[in-house]
C-alpha cells in the first residue's frame, strides 16, 4: 500500500502509460496496484458497519432465548449462529417508539422516524447515511445500499431529505463497480460524462435562480431542495471523478453470475452477502445496508411450497408456521455464513468481523399480528463485549435507536443522539 500513498493523485494508469510509453510491461504496474481502494493506509484498520433487515418478522419463540444474560440456552434460529455466540448480542425488548402499522414500519427501520404509517409521514436520515456524512469521503463508495428483491414498503438507506436511496440489486453489477477496471475508452467516456453533467448542473442551477425570484418564501423551500440536490450531485460527481482517476482494487474472487430465479432467494441473498464482504475487504466502502425482501417469493427450499407473505399470515396453523420457520432459518444461515466470512479475513491481529459491526433485524416481530414492538435484533462483531442476550422491558420497550447511538460512537462519530434515542444501549459495552 505504501507505494500508492506516494503516487500523486493525478498519476493515473492512463497518464502513466502515456508518459512511460505503451511498451511498459504490465507486471510493473501490478506492483502499483493497491490492495485497498482507499487513497492512503491508516495506522489501524478502520471501523465498518453493516445493517441488514429482513421484512418478514421472525417467529419470536424460534428466535429469542428464554433466559437473559450470558448463559442462555440457544433457540431453533440461534443454533445456526452458535459458532459466533461469543461475537454477537441478542437484543430483545427494543423497538422504535411511535412505530406501528405492520409493513409500513419498514420505512423507518434504520431511521427511527415516528409515525411511518401516518398520512403525513416524513422520513429522516438513516443510520448509515449519518455515518457516511462523516467517513464516506474516505472510500470509493461512500456507502453501499444493497438489496435482494425490490422494495415492499420501504428501504434502508434514507437521505437527509427523507428520500429512499435505491439499492443495487445485481451482484454482478456491484462486482463490476468494485473491481472491473475501465478500459481507457470507457474511462474517458465516463470522465466526459462527468464533465457534461457538471456543466449541465451549473446551467440548471443558474436557471433555477430566475424561478426563485418569482417565488414567495413558503414556496422557496421546495426550490431550495433543488439547489441542494444540484450541489450534492456536484459533490458526488467530484468524488466520482477523483476515484475514476484511481485504480480499482483487485480480487482473486471471480465475477459472479446473477441468479435470476427469484425462488432461489437463499442463494441470491448469499451472493449479495459475498459481494458485501468483498467490498469491505477491499475497503471500497465501510458502510453497507442490505435490504432483504423474501415476502413475495415462494422459496425453493425443502418443505416450502407457499409464498412467504401468505405464510407470515399463518393464523397459527402449524403447517404454515413450520414452512415459515424454514424460510426464516435459511435467512439466519446466510447471516451465519456472512459472519464466518468476515471472521476468516485477517487484518493485522484482528479479523474483519472485529472491525465490522453487523446489525441484523426485522421491522416486525411476529408477521402474523404484524406487530412492531419487541423486534428481533442481533448485533455482531465490531468491537463490543458480546455473548449475551440483553432484554429490555417487554411492555415499555427501549428505543432501538439506542443501539444505533452505540454503533455511531463505536464508529468514532461523536454523537449522543439519533432520532428517538435516549442514550446508548445499556449493557452493550465496548471491548
Amino acid at each position: 500500500m505504501a507505494p500508492l500513498a506516494l503516487t500523486p493523485p493525478d498519476l493515473t494508469r492512463r497518464s502513466f502509460l502515456r508518459s512511460a510509453g505503451v511498451t511498459l510491461a504490465l507486471p510493473f504496474l501490478e506492483a502499483l496496484a493497491p490492495r485497498f481502494a482507499r487513497a492512503s493506509s491508516p495506522a489501524s484498520p478502520p471501523r465498518r458497519m453493516v445493517c441488514i433487515m429482513t421484512n418478514t418478522g421472525l417467529i419470536p419463540d424460534n428466535f429469542f432465548p428464554k433466559a437473559t444474560g450470558f448463559e442462555y440456552e440457544t433457540t431453533r434460529y440461534l443454533a445456526h449462529l452458535e459458532e459466533h455466540r461469543k461475537n454477537l448480542t441478542v437484543i430483545g425488548g427494543v423497538s422504535h417508539p411511535d412505530n406501528s402499522g405492520g409493513h409500513m414500519v419498514e420505512k423507518s427501520f434504520l431511521t427511527g422516524a415516528r409515525f411511518p404509517s401516518s398520512p403525513s409521514f416524513k422520513n429522516s436520515i438513516s443510520l448509515d447515511q449519518i455515518a457516511a456524512e462523516h467517513i464516506g469521503h474516505l472510500t470509493r463508495f461512500p456507502f453501499l445500499a444493497l438489496g435482494v428483491n425490490e422494495k415492499h414498503d420501504g428501504l434502508l438507506s434514507v437521505t437527509r431529505d427523507g428520500v429512499f436511496i435505491p439499492p443495487e440489486f445485481s451482484p454482478s453489477k456491484l462486482y463490476n463497480r468494485l473491481f472491473t477496471a475501465d478500459t481507457e475508452e470507457e474511462s474517458e467516456s465516463r470522465l466526459r460524462e462527468i464533465r457534461n453533467q457538471t456543466s449541465l448542473l451549473d446551467f440548471v442551477n443558474d436557471k433555477a435562480k430566475r424561478l426563485e425570484k418569482l417565488l414567495g418564501q413558503s414556496d422557496r423551500d421546495r426550490l431550495d431542495q433543488y439547489f441542494t440536490s444540484v450541489r450534492e450531485l456536484e459533490q458526488r460527481l467530484q468524488h466520482a471523478e477523483k476515484w475514476q482517476r484511481r485504480e480499482k482494487p483487485q480480487t482473486s474472487t471471480p465475477a459472479p453470475r446473477d441468479i435470476s430465479d427469484i425462488t432461489q432467494d437463499k442463494d441470491r441473498a448469499a451472493l449479495m452477502y459475498d459481494m458485501a464482504r468483498l467490498a469491505l475487504e477491499s475497503d471500497s466502502t465501510r458502510l453497507i445496508t442490505i435490504y432483504l425482501n423474501p415476502l413475495e417469493v415462494t422459496l425453493k427450499l425443502p418443505g416450502v411450497h407457499d409464498r412467504t407473505h401468505s405464510l407470515t399470515h399463518h393464523g397459527n396453523e402449524p403447517e404454515k408456521l413450520e414452512q415459515l420457520a424454514k424460510i426464516e432459518e435459511a435467512g439466519i444461515q446466510n447471516l451465519s455464513s456472512f459472519l464466518s466470512g468476515l471472521s476468516s479475513v485477517k487484518e493485522g491481529d484482528q479479523t474483519l468481523l472485529d472491525q465490522t459491526m453487523v446489525l441484523f433485524g426485522s421491522n416486525m416481530a411476529s408477521g402474523n399480528s404484524h406487530s412492531n414492538t419487541n423486534l428481533p435484533i442481533l448485533l455482531a462483531g465490531g468491537g463490543f463485549k458480546h455473548g449475551q442476550h440483553l432484554q429490555f422491558d417487554l411492555k415499555q420497550n427501549a428505543p432501538l435507536c439506542n443501539v444505533f447511538v452505540s454503533m455511531l460512537q463505536r464508529m468514532g462519530i461523536e454523537t449522543d443522539k439519533f432520532a428517538s434515542s435516549t442514550g446508548t444501549l445499556t449493557g452493550l459495552d465496548l471491548l
Binding site: 406501528s100 398520512p119 403525513s120 433555477a208 431542495q225 441542494t228 427469484i262 413475495e296 407457499d306
Partner: protein
C-alpha cells in the same frame, strides 16, 4: 377538573382566550374542562395550555378536532349532560369563524398549494407527449413519490433529493435516446407465423402433459399421454426416470416443424400458467399480432365441446436467463375470448419495446387437485386421467415494427425535417453513440440467422445541418415553450443555443450537442416545477392563478401531463379561466383518451388500487384468484368510474348502484349469471345482489385485505377515510395488535370484541368498525361469503366452480356482518348498511370532493375549504351530485382557480 377547583386556574384559562374567548369560555368550562384540564388531560387534551388568539399549526389542528368532535356530537360524551342546543350552535359558530378566518389569513399570504415538482408519473406522461413516445417507461426508474393522505400530488410530500435529480438526468437521457432515429430507412418489417409446439419453451409442458398436441381438433397421439400410474412432477413422489424418458421422447418428435395446435391446461394451482411464445422484437415499435385459438373440454384423452367460454391473455416480460416459472409478466397486452371448438382469430396492434418477450397466459382457472393443490402434472397420469377445460393455440403471427412515418414523430419532435447524412469519420467529430441491436432473449425469434447485418449495424448516419446554431435556435423555439408551458424569449433561447455551441466546439456531432441541450431543458426547474404564481401579482386577488398556471393545473389533473397546444393557446389569450371556455375544455379533456391517465392515477391513489399486488392471496384457500381475474379487478373499477363520469351519475353510486361493470371472470366471482367473454360491460344487478358501488368491488375488497385474512378495522379505517370523509387518527401507542387465527376456531370479530371491550378503544372503534363489519361479507379477493374459508377446521364445502371443479378449502364459522352506525342506526348486512349511507348523498359528495380537490390542486385539505366544498356540493344538487357536475364545479371553484 372538578367543580371545586380553585377559581384561579379557571381564570388562567380565560386569560389565554382573547375576545372570542368570552364566547367560548363558559361553554368549555361548563362541559369540557372537567376532563380536559392540565391534571386529567383526557385523550391528551389540555385546554388550559391551549391558546386561542394566535394559533400555531398544532394548536390550530387541536381546535379543529375540538370543533369537529362537538359538531359530530361525540363530545361531550353521551353519558354526560347534553349542552343546550343554542349553546352548542353558538360555540360551533364562534369556533368555525375563528378557524376559517385564521386559515384564510394564512392562505391569502401563501396560497393554498405549494409550488411543487412533477410527480414521477407526470414526468413520464410529459416526456411521452413532448417526445411523441407513447410507450415510454421511465416511472419505474425514478424513486417512488412519497404520499400525503394517500396522494402523491401533494406539494409538501414531493421532495427532491440528489437521488431524484440523478435519476431524472438518467431517464431524460434515455428518453432522448429512444426518440432519436439512427437510420435513414425504418428497420425491416419482420413478418412470420409461428406454431406453438415448434418453440422449445413449450416442450417442457408437453413432456409433463400440461399441454397436449392437437390435430384436426383431436388429440394427436404423436406425443402419447403419460402412464396413468406414474407421477411426472411433484415435490415428493416424483418419478425422475420417467420424467427424463418423457422429455427425451419429446425431444425426438421433430416438433420444430410441427404445425398442429397445442392444447394448454392450467398447471399447478399455486402458480399462474404462462409460457413464452419465444418472440421478442429487436426493435421497439407497433406490432400487428394475430392469433388463432379455441377452447375445448378435455376428457381423459378426448376433445369435447367446452362447457363454458374461455379466454386467454397475451402479455410480455423482459427476458432474463434462468428459470422463469416464477417471474411475473411485466405488462398485459390483452385478453381474448375463445368461446368454442371453432378457431377464433384475433388481430390487434400493440406497441412492443425492444426485448419484450411475448407470453401466453391461460385466461381462466382450469383445474385443481383438492389434496395437493397441484394440477395436472403432479397427479398420477395427469392428462391421461384429467377431465377439464383447456385452451388450444393453432398459431400466432407477428408483423412489425410498423411506422406510419419515417423518421418517426419522436425524431421530428427534436430535429424537425433536418436530413440524415452519413457520419464523416474524417470530420474529427466524436461518432454519435449507437445502441447495439441484437436478440438478447434466449431462444427467442427473430434468431441470429433471421437478422441481417444491415438490420443490426446499419450505416452510421446522423442528423446533419449546414447552419447548426440557426437550426438549434429554430428547433428550440418550438420545443421550449411546449416543455416550459410558457412563452420563451429569444434571450432565453440563446442561453440554450450556447450549450449547443459549447458541445459542438468540444467535437460533438449536432445530434449529440442537441441531445445535451434538450437534456438541460428537461432537467431544469422550468420543466420540473409547477404551480408558480402569476408573473405580475394582481393586486385585487394575488392568489388567482394566471391562465398559464391554470392550464397547467387543469392538464395535470385531467390528463396527468403538461398542457397541449390548445390549452396553451387559450392560456396565452388569457381566456381559459372564463366560465364557458373552462367548461368546454373540461368536456374536451374528459372526452380525450388521455383522461384515462387521470382515472387510473386517481383511482390508484384514492382507492389504493396501486396496492392490488401488495399481497398475494393464499392459493389453496383462494384457488380462483388467477392473473386474468387480477387484471379484471382494476379494469372494473376504472370502467365504473368512467361510467359515472360519462353518464353524470350520482355520487351515491360510490356505495350503491344497480349495475356493475364486469366480464365473465368477475361475474362468476359476483355470482351474476349470463355474462360471457372477457370484455368489461355494464350489467344490471339481479335483485338481492349484495354488489354495487365501489365498496363491493373485488379490487377495493382486495386492497383492504392482506391476502389471507380480512380485518374490519383495516377496512373500516379505509371506508371512513376514503368514502365517508372521516379521517381516523392512528391508534394510541401500546395497543397490542390482534393475532389473527385462521385455524377455524374463532372469527376475527370474536378476537376483536376482546380488543374493543376496553373503553379507551371503544370511542374510535364505534366509528371505525361498522363499515368493516358490513364488509366482512366479502373475502380477501372480493367473493361473497356467509362462512369463512379455512384450511384447518371446518366442514367440507359443496362448491363447484363454473369451470367444473371443486376447491379444497373448508367452511369454518359463519360471518357476522351486522353492526350499528355511530348514530345508533342498526344494520344486519351490507345491503342495509348501504341503504343507510345513501340517505346522506351530500356528505358522500363532500367527501369525494375533498379527495378530488387534493388530487386536482396538489394541496392538503384546509379547514377553510369546507365552505367552498359545501357550495360545490350544493351547486351539483340538481344533478343529484353527478360526478361530472362535481368535476365541473371543482374546475370553476375558487379553490381550483386560486393558488
Amino acid at each position: 377538573m372538578s367543580r371545586n377547583v380553585p377559581i384561579a386556574i379557571v381564570g388562567t384559562l380565560f386569560l389565554s382566550f382573547q375576545s372570542p374567548a368570552a364566547d367560548i369560555g363558559p361553554f368549555l368550562e361548563e362541559h369540557c374542562v372537567e376532563c380536559h384540564d392540565s391534571s386529567t388531560k383526557k385523550g391528551g387534551l389540555n385546554l388550559e395550555a391551549l391558546q386561542f388568539d394566535s394559533l400555531d399549526r398544532k394548536q390550530f389542528e387541536t381546535w379543529v378536532r375540538i370543533h369537529d368532535r362537538i359538531a359530530n356530537g361525540e363530545m361531550p360524551p353521551k353519558k354526560q349532560e347534553r349542552p343546550p342546543e343554542a349553546d352548542r350552535a353558538k360555540i360551533l359558530r364562534v369556533l368555525d369563524e375563528k378557524l376559517h378566518s385564521t386559515d384564510t389569513d394564512v392562505i391569502s399570504k401563501l396560497g393554498r398549494a405549494r409550488v411543487r415538482r412533477l410527480t414521477a408519473q407526470e414526468i413520464e406522461n410529459s416526456l411521452r407527449d413532448l417526445l411523441c413516445l407513447p410507450n415510454l417507461h421511465v416511472k419505474e426508474a425514478l424513486p417512488e413519490d412519497e404520499r400525503r393522505h394517500g396522494y402523491h400530488k401533494i406539494g409538501e410530500a414531493l421532495d427532491l433529493s440528489n437521488v431524484h435529480l440523478a435519476k431524472i438526468i438518467d431517464v431524460v437521457d434515455s428518453a432522448l435516446g429512444a426518440a432519436i432515429a439512427t437510420r435513414i430507412q425504418p428497420p425491416p418489417v419482420y413478418h412470420k407465423r409461428f406454431y406453438p409446439a415448434s418453440g422449445t419453451e413449450t416442450w417442457l409442458p408437453i413432456g409433463r402433459a400440461d399441454a397436449v398436441l392437437l390435430k384436426d381438433k383431436q388429440f394427436d397421439p404423436l406425443c402419447p399421454l403419460p402412464d396413468p400410474e406414474k407421477r411426472i412432477q411433484d415435490n415428493n413422489a416424483i418419478d425422475f426416470a420417467y420424467q427424463q424418458e418423457r422429455m427425451k421422447m419429446v425431444d425426438g418428435l421433430g416438433l420444430r416443424q410441427y404445425e398442429g395446435a397445442l392444447g394448454f391446461f392450467s398447471g399447478p394451482v399455486d402458480k399462474d400458467f404462462r409460457r413464452s411464445l419465444q418472440f421478442a422484437p429487436i426493435h421497439g415499435g407497433f406490432y400487428r399480432i394475430k392469433t388463432s385459438a379455441w377452447s375445448f373440454w378435455w376428457d381423459r384423452g378426448e376433445v369435447r365441446n367446452p362447457i363454458r367460454p374461455e379466454s386467454f391473455m397475451l402479455s410480455v416480460w423482459l427476458p432474463e436467463p434462468g428459470s422463469r416459472f416464477d417471474h411475473s409478466a411485466s405488462r398485459r397486452i390483452g385478453m381474448f375470448d375463445v368461446p368454442s371448438l371453432d378457431s377464433s382469430v384475433h388481430e390487434f396492434t400493440s406497441w412492443l419495446d425492444p426485448d419484450e418477450e411475448l407470453l401466453f397466459e391461460i385466461g381462466t382457472p382450469t383445474g385443481y387437485a383438492p389434496k395437493t393443490g397441484r394440477f395436472p402434472s403432479s397427479e398420477p397420469g395427469s392428462a391421461t386421467t384429467y377431465s377439464g377445460p383447456g385452451i388450444a393455440l393453432d398459431w400466432f403471427e407477428v408483423e412489425g415494427p410498423l411506422f406510419s412515418q419515417w423518421p418517426p414523430a419522436s425524431h421530428k419532435a427534436l430535429f424537425g425535417e433536418l436530413p440524415f447524412k452519413p457520419f464523416d469519420s474524417a470530420s474529427g467529430l466524436r461518432p454519435p453513440h449507437r445502441q447495439i441491436v441484437k436478440q438478447i432473449a434466449v431462444n427467442a425469434r427473430p434468431r441470429g440467422a433471421e437478422i441481417s447485418k444491415e438490420d443490426t449495424s446499419p450505416p452510421l448516419v446522423t442528423v446533419s445541418t449546414e447552419h447548426p446554431l440557426e437550426d438549434a435556435s429554430q428547433l428550440l423555439s418550438t420545443f421550449l415553450p411546449k416543455a416550459f408551458r410558457r412563452a420563451v424569449d429569444t434571450n432565453e433561447i440563446a442561453q440554450y443555443v450556447a450549450i449547443t455551441k459549447q458541445h459542438l466546439e468540444a467535437k460533438s456531432t449536432f445530434e449529440e450537442a442537441m441531445r445535451e441541450t434538450y437534456k438541460a431543458a428537461l432537467c431544469s426547474s422550468d420543466f420540473l416545477f409547477v404551480g408558480e404564481p402569476p408573473m405580475s401579482a394582481q393586486v385585487e386577488s394575488p392568489n388567482r392563478l394566471s391562465d398559464r398556471a391554470l392550464a397547467e393545473r387543469l392538464s395535470l389533473w385531467l390528463w396527468n401531463t403538461i398542457p397541449d397546444d390548445e390549452l396553451r393557446a387559450l392560456a396565452s389569450k388569457g381566456v381559459l379561466h372564463e366560465t364557458s371556455i373552462l367548461r368546454a375544455q373540461v368536456e374536451r379533456m374528459l372526452a380525450d383518451p388521455r383522461s384515462d391517465r387521470f382515472i387510473q392515477d386517481f383511482l390508484d391513489q384514492w382507492l389504493d388500487l396501486r396496492k392490488l399486488d401488495a399481497s398475494s392471496p393464499d392459493r389453496r384457500t383462494y384457488p380462483e384468484y388467477r392473473a386474468p381475474l387480477r387484471e379484471s379487478m382494476p379494469a372494473e373499477t376504472r370502467a365504473f368510474f368512467r361510467e359515472l363520469i360519462d353518464k353524470n351519475l350520482s355520487v351515491t353510486n360510490l356505495v350503491a348502484s344497480d349495475f356493475v361493470m364486469v366480464n365473465q371472470g368477475l361475474a362468476e366471482l359476483y355470482q351474476i349469471p349470463g355474462v360471457t367473454g372477457s370484455a368489461i360491460r355494464r350489467v344490471g344487478l339481479p335483485p338481492g345482489s349484495p354488489r354495487g358501488g365501489f365498496i363491493t368491488q373485488a379490487s377495493v375488497l382486495k386492497v383492504t385485505a392482506n391476502g389471507t385474512t380480512t380485518s374490519p378495522v383495516t377496512r373500516g379505517v379505509w371506508m371512513n377515510e376514503r368514502i365517508l370523509g372521516n379521517p381516523i387518527p392512528p391508534p394510541p401507542p401500546g395497543v397490542p395488535a390482534v393475532e389473527p387465527d385462521t385455524r377455524g376456531t374463532s372469527t376475527i370479530r370474536e378476537q376483536l370484541d376482546k380488543h374493543r371491550s376496553d373503553s379507551a378503544c371503544a370511542a374510535c372503534h364505534a366509528k371505525i368498525d361498522p363499515p368493516g363489519f358490513a364488509l366482512e361479507s366479502f373475502d380477501v379477493i372480493g367473493g361473497f361469503r356467509d362462512r369463512y374459508r379455512s384450511l384447518g377446521k371446518g366442514e367440507a364445502n359443496e362448491v363447484v366452480f363454473a369451470a367444473g371443479w371443486k376447491p379444497g378449502y373448508k367452511l369454518a364459522k359463519p360471518v357476522d356482518a351486522a353492526g350499528e352506525l355511530p348514530s345508533g342506526e342498526p344494520f344486519k348486512d351490507i345491503t342495509e348498511f348501504r341503504d343507510l349511507l345513501v340517505r346522506h348523498p351530500d356528505s358522500l359528495a363532500a367527501s369525494f370532493t375533498r379527495h378530488l380537490l387534493m388530487y386536482a390542486t396538489g394541496s392538503e385539505p384546509h379547514y377553510s375549504d369546507r365552505r367552498e366544498i359545501a357550495q360545490i356540493v350544493e351547486r351539483s344538487r340538481n344533478t343529484e351530485y353527478g360526478l361530472r357536475s362535481l368535476i365541473h364545479e371543482i374546475a370553476q371553484s375558487a379553490l381550483f382557480k386560486n393558488k
